[in-house]
Every structure is written in C-alpha cells, then in structure tokens.
C-alpha cells in the first residue's frame, strides 16, 4: 500500500497544480462579482502561449507567454462583460469557443498539421532539500516543478490579500454590493477589470503548467474542461483561497485514483476514470449546494 501511496500523492499534486492555479484566479474574479466561463479559454490560450514562446525564450519565458495569452482572453471578456455589460455566461462561452478555435488554427499555421516534430523545453521537478526526504509524502509534495511551489505560495498570499488588505476589502465589496462600493468611492468596473486580468493570468499559467510541467506539447482542446472544473472547485471551496486549494487537492486525488486502480490491477473501463472528475463535481455541487453563499452580486450585470 505504501508503494502506491507515494506515486498516488505525487500524481494528486501534479494534477491539482493547474486546477489550483486556475481556481485561485477564478476565486478572485468571482469575489468581484463576475463569473468567468471563459476560464477554459484562458487555459487553452495559456497552453498555446507557452508552446509559442518556449522555443524562443525558454521555460520562464514560456510562463510569461502563457500568462500574457491568458490575460488576452480576459481582456476580451472584461470588455464585453464589464464595459458593455453583456451577459457573462454567453460571453464566457463565446470566449472559450473563440480561444479553442483560434489556438487550433494558429497552432496548425505555426507548426504544421501534424505538429509532432515539436519539442519544447520542459520544467523538471526540483527537489527541496530536507523536506523532500520526508518519508512517503516528502517526494510527493516537495519534489515538484517550480510552478507547484508558486501555487503553495499563492494560496496564503491570496487569502491574506483578500481578507487583510484594503484592496481585498474593496474587491469583496464590489462583489457583494456594487452600489455600496460606489458610495465608498470604489469603482466596480475598475476592480472587475483588474480581477479579470489576474484571473486570466492565472488561467494562462494553468495552461502553461500543463504544457511545460506535464505534457511537453500542445494538442487542440487539451484544456479538456479544466476551466469548468476549476469553476466548480471555486464553488466547492466556498470562494475562499484555502478552501479552494483543498478542493483542488480533492480533484487531484480523484484523477490520481486511476493510477492506484491500475497498480492494483483492477479492470475497470477507462472511460469511468475519465468521467470521474466530472461526476465528482456534480456530486460535490449537490452536496454543498445548499450551504454555500456565493458573492451576492455574482453573475449580475
């Protein structure tokens, strides 16, 4: 059992990393009263941005490219949703479709239809001395790519920023009661623009981490619904960074279960494992739906 536990935890952290990145960004966005259904688009754009820049600028350049691509999708969404007050859900769906389509077209035009010859620099795991030698959990938590450590740092940072700073308070006010925020001299539109930019950057980084720290290449539609799962994670984590991080871990574990079953030699249809995170999302939403309190102005125009 110990033999499977180590790899299981390692896979849990690995799959949770991109989910946590996107979900932390979405937490900030939703606390400002906007739901970014275009998050899926930010992730796929980030994945493409990473592939497009990795060859020229290396691993760290690729993460910058990924974040920039994510911000680009957020700018489109913010313009429609915040400035023009278009419907958030329809706009988000359109941004996702646009991003999925454009990345597909651009990828083929840049790397040819096959695109197999593509090899980009990837970020290998970096073991932290001492911590990584803790038995069983050490390697799982502390021998990961650098982006995972960035997530570890982001979780408390986001929690502190949201709950303990004036800017965080202003953002929450915008999400709960925009009129009161206006009365207090805070511009809801500006707060939402900034929140969406941060959310887009983190969504882009999430896609970038998929490419650079995991797969090592780009495939059309490789975001595979992670943006939507991240949105569900935010609800499951009750709109708080710590809760969201915990929920992302649960999802990572659910996806990693298939490795356990494989190593135990259980023969189950693999589609069951593929569908599992989505079923879990439904179950989780059903389980917590009655008790969660989303930001009061969420989704309103």
């Amino acid at each position: 059992m110990i033999d499977t536990l180590g790899p299981f935890l390692e896979a849990t952290i690995r799959t949770a990393t991109p989910l946590a990145l996107a979900a932390l960004g979405e937490t900030i966005v939703e606390r400002s009263g906007v739901i970014n259904i275009g998050l899926e688009g930010a992730i796929i754009a980030g994945a493409f941005g990473a592939v497009a820049t990795a060859g020229l600028f290396g691993v760290s350049g690729a993460f910058v490219g990924a974040a920039a691509a994510g911000v680009l999708t957020a700018v489109v969404l913010a313009f429609f949703v915040v400035t023009l007050r278009a419907d958030q859900i329809v706009t988000g769906t359109a941004v996702t479709l646009l991003s999925l389509g454009l990345t597909g077209v651009l990828y083929r035009s840049m790397f040819g239809v096959a695109g197999v010859a593509l090899s980009i620099p990837t970020a290998g795991p970096v073991a932290i001395p001492l911590l990584s030698s803790i038995r069983v959990i050490g390697r799982a938590f502390f021998a990961q790519p650098v982006i995972t450590y960035v997530v570890y740092a982001l979780i408390p940072a986001a929690a502190w920023w949201l709950n303990r700073t004036h800017a965080g308070l202003a953002l929450r006010a915008v999400g709960e009661n925009p009129d009161a925020a206006v009365a207090a001299g805070v511009s809801p539109n500006r707060a939402r623009w900034y929140a969406l930019a941060v959310g887009g950057a983190l969504g882009g980084l999430s896609g970038g981490s998929l490419v650079i720290a995991q797969v090592g290449t780009f495939a059309e539609g490789m975001s595979a619904g992670r943006g939507f799962i991240a949105i569900a994670i935010v609800a499951l984590g009750r709109w708080s960074p710590i809760g969201v991080a915990a929920a992302a871990l649960v999802f990572g574990a659910a996806s990693a279960l298939q490795f356990v079953f494989q190593s135990l030699g259980w023969m189950l249809p693999y589609q069951l494992f593929l569908a599992f995170p989505y079923v879990l999302t439904l179950a989780a939403l059903a389980g917590t739906g009655g008790r969660t309190a989303p930001p009061a102005a969420l989704g309103r125009r």
Partner: protein, 349 residues
C-alpha cells in the same frame, strides 16, 4: 453576418497558409453553391442546429442557462440507437417513433439532474450542464466499446440501425430527411406555445423578471423553470435521435461536431425567437457544411467555423451592449433613477 464570415475565412486561410480564394470558393460550393450542397449539406447539418438552437432559445427565454445541449443530444442519440436496435423487428414501423420518443426522453432525463440541482439547491446550471456534457461523451465512448458495440467488435460504434428505425428521405431532396421537417415543425410549435399559451406567457414573465413572477402568486417559478429545462433537454435529445436515425444510422463518439455549443450562437443570432432560430440554424448549417468542404478541398482547418461562430456571438453581444450603453446614458441624462439590475437574459436579444 455573411461579411464577417467571408472576412474571417480569408484571414484565417491566409494565416494557415492556404489560398483564400480557393477557401472561399470551397465554402460557397460546399454550402449553397449547388442544389445538392444546399439539400444534402447545409439543410442536413441545419437540422440538429435548429433543434438544439430551439433548446437553447427556449431555456434562455426562461432564464435557464442550459449549456448542456451537447450532452443532451448525445444522450438522445444513445437512447434512440438502443431503442431502435432493440425494437425494430418486433415493433415494425413503430420502431422509428419509439426511437425518436426515447431520444427526446433521454435528453430530458439528461437535463433532469442539473434542473433538479438548480431548483433544490440553487446550483449554477452552467457548470452542471457542462459537466453532464463530458459525462455523456465518456458514456458514449464506453457504450460503443462495450454493450452497444457492433457484433463484430472491431469498430468503436454501434450496429447499423435497420431500415424500420430510419427516418425516410424527403422526396426529391437528395439526402435531406424527414428530420428537417420535424425540426421546422418544432420551431413553429415552440413559437406558438411561447406566444399564445398561458404556460408560454409564464415562461416569458419568468425570463423577463423572476422576482416579479415570484410575487405574482399564480406563477410557480421553480416548477415552470424545471419544466422548461426538461423540455429544452428533450428538444436537444430529439436532435440526437434524429441525427442517428436520419444521418449516421449508428452511434459513435463523434456524431456531433459540437452542435450543442454552436446552438448557443444559433439561438442568439435568432434573437431567441423560435422562428428566427430556425432561419439562423439554416445559416449556421450552411456555414458548417461550407467549413467541412473548405477543409476537404482547400486544406483550411474546420475549426475556422468555430472561430467564426464565436466571433458572431461576440458581435451580437457587442451590438446589444452598445445599444445598452447608449440607453443607460440617456436614462442618466433624463435623471431617472438608475436600474441596478438588468431585466433577465432576454434583454440581450
């Protein structure tokens, strides 16, 4: 609209290294350039788009954000295949209506969980319907390699539906099948129901202002939206049933190239009006048929159509948004009290 498509296709064709002239020619010839292309390409593709577009339009009218037409379509296609295969020798010609009914019911059943979660717990249906889309996709993937796989067990697809469970072709219309007529009939039916019946009126009131509907004691908002949600799922499920009984004759994973997502654009361009949605379904059917021809004949990736669809949605939203901004500014100028909450979704259209 056609201008947007033409411009986009040209730009995207150039960017992917193809000849824009050839791409546009292929787009034209593959969609409306010939009688055969129009009937067998565009209108055949328009059929599921009209039905899914109606599903989305009906749901959005009631303020139900059903993004799950894709999953409901797959559920409908699956049920129609299973029922068609199981009942065709015993039920004779009744196998076809049985398959279609099963498809519609399966679509409604697939919409039930998100609908119930929304009603019971207020869970956002946007997320749950999208999750159900993925579950449906993997369910079909499992079934066509497991219980529903064809007898030889070579290909990941179901056995071919027997003649009795297939939709007849429309006379003198190449590959166009009866499903197109059914889709148009549904468009008329939804339009009539929304416009003239009491239930339709309730749906429109709920969409326009749920709070007002709630305070009018005669409207049970929860029950009405649940029913609309299920009906929306049934329309999408019927689209799937018609697709397998009229076009593919068997079930496999890719029976839908994203009809359920394109349907959002179809409904929006149709201003959520059922009759206009049918028209816009034909437009998007032509676009998709043309895009397929473009990929075949000019090497332009068919995801170009996705880009065009997304752009069209954004243009529609932008024009509505700009109008809204102008209206807000006028209101401000007239010193009327500000409206803090916009009136539901239908305001967009």
């Amino acid at each position: 609209m056609a201008g947007i498509v033409t411009g986009l296709v040209a730009v995207l064709a150039v960017s992917s290294g193809s000849d824009p002239g050839r791409a546009l020619e292929a787009l034209w010839l593959g969609s409306v350039g010939s009688r055969y292309a129009l009937l067998s390409g565009s209108l055949v593709r328009a059929t599921p788009l009209i039905l899914c577009g109606l599903a989305v339009a009906l749901a959005f009218t009631a303020g139900v954000m059903n993004i799950g037409a894709e999953g409901q379509l797959l559920a409908g296609g699956t049920a129609a295949t299973a029922v068609g295969l199981a009942t065709s020798p015993s039920l004779g010609r009744l196998a076809l209506p049985a398959a279609l009914a099963a498809g519609a019911m399966a679509g409604a059943a697939w919409a039930f969980l998100p609908a119930w979660l929304r009603r019971r717990f207020g869970v956002l249906e946007v997320i749950t319907t999208i999750m159900m889309n993925f579950v449906a996709l993997y369910m079909v993937g499992y079934l066509v390699r497991g219980p529903l796989q064809e007898p030889l067990r070579i290909y990941p697809q179901s056995a071919s539906l027997p003649e009795a469970a297939r939709l007849p072709l429309l006379p003198g219309a190449a590959r166009l099948h009866l499903g197109f007529a059914i889709a148009l009939f549904c468009a008329g039916g939804v339009w009539w129901a929304l416009r003239t019946t009491a239930a339709g009126f309730r749906v429109r009131v709920i969409g326009a202002n749920p709070d007002a509907a709630r305070s009018a004691a005669l409207i049970d908002v929860g029950r009405s939206t649940l029913r609309v949600f299920l009906l929306s799922g049934a329309l999408a499920g019927l689209a799937g049933a018609i697709e397998v009984t009229g076009v593919t004759y068997s079930l496999y994973e890719n029976i839908s190239p994203g009809y359920g997502y394109t349907a959002i654009a179809v409904a929006l361009v149709g201003a959520l009006n059922p009759l206009l949605t049918a028209v816009s379904g034909v437009f998007f059917g032509a676009l998709e048929a043309g895009a397929a021809a473009m990929q075949r004949d000019a090497g332009v990736p068919s995801v170009t159509a996705t880009v065009a669809e997304a752009s069209i949605i954004l243009v529609v939203l932008a024009s509505a948004g700009v109008r809204g901004r102008v209206a807000r500014r006028r209101r401000r100028a007239a010193h009327t009290p500000p409206i803090t909450r916009s009136p539901g979704f239908s305001g967009v259209a």
